[in-house]
Amino acid sequence: MPESIAAIPFIILAAATLLGAAMVVLTRNVVHAAFWVLEVMMAVAGLFMLLSAGFLALVQVMVYAGAVTVLLIFTVMLTLRDREDAIRSRDLSWAAGGIALATLVAAGTAIVSFAPPIPKLPAVTPGVAEFGRLLFSGWALPFEIASVILLIALVGAVWWSGGER
């Protein structure tokens, strides 16, 4: 396990993340935006690997890159009447830009004032086995609640999107 995080893979993955996120907002084609979301998810999974969170990277690829992107593309396809509907106006508003910029300035100020020194990372971080052991001991209750949430969401999604009764 590395004792520090190398800059070059971080810069590549960060650039991929930011490029994808910017293209989601800037592209005019809804289908292209869905694929740029997929690219952002994969880059974030790479960042999770860099942070030695292997299990989360796997879940990120399966849940976000796999399931969520497929759902997004299905919904885009089901709600377009013809091919031209995928091309939209760019929909950028100054008010939204102002709010996002203000949030960014606030977050930046917080980061600068927090400014932790680069710590010496511990040589050994817990692996997937330790993750699983903790998940089913100390975190068992949140785990059960999460499964109930997923069940309710599943039933609700079927109920809402089902045909006319």
């Binding site: 996120a21 974030v44 969170a53 709600t79 330790e130 609700g156 999107s161």
Partner: protein, 103 residues
């Protein structure tokens, strides 16, 4: 050359703010949901990074990120189901045209 937690926090803040900008300005319901996913990813990245740098042995940040993923998956599933139900009823997903409650 190495990077510290500040670089990850800055990246997460940028990702969150790009998502926020899109979620507030887009007029298509599906695009708004995509931008919400970007925001969730920014939050998760922050949690995992801080957990790795500050308390890597307790894995608390990773568990929180995993539960956020569960909630985000439920949210996107329900959100897209709502978009489909809305489309079936009104034949549009343009948020500008859903103004029946406007006084």
């Amino acid at each position: 050359m190495t990077v510290g937690p500040s670089a990850f926090m800055a990246l997460a803040a940028l990702l969150f703010c790009i998502g926020l900008f899109g979620a507030l300005s887009k007029k298509s319901a599906v695009m708004v949901l995509m931008c919400l996913e970007l925001m969730t990813n920014g939050v998760n990245l922050n949690l995992v990074a801080i957990s790795r740098f500050v308390t890597p042995e307790s894995l608390a940040g990773q568990f929180t990120a995993a539960f956020i993923m569960v909630v985000a998956a439920a949210e996107i599933g329900l959100g897209l189901a709502l978009v489909l139900a809305l489309y079936r009823r009104t034949r549009t997903i343009e948020l500008d045209r859903l103004d029946e409650l406007k006084g």
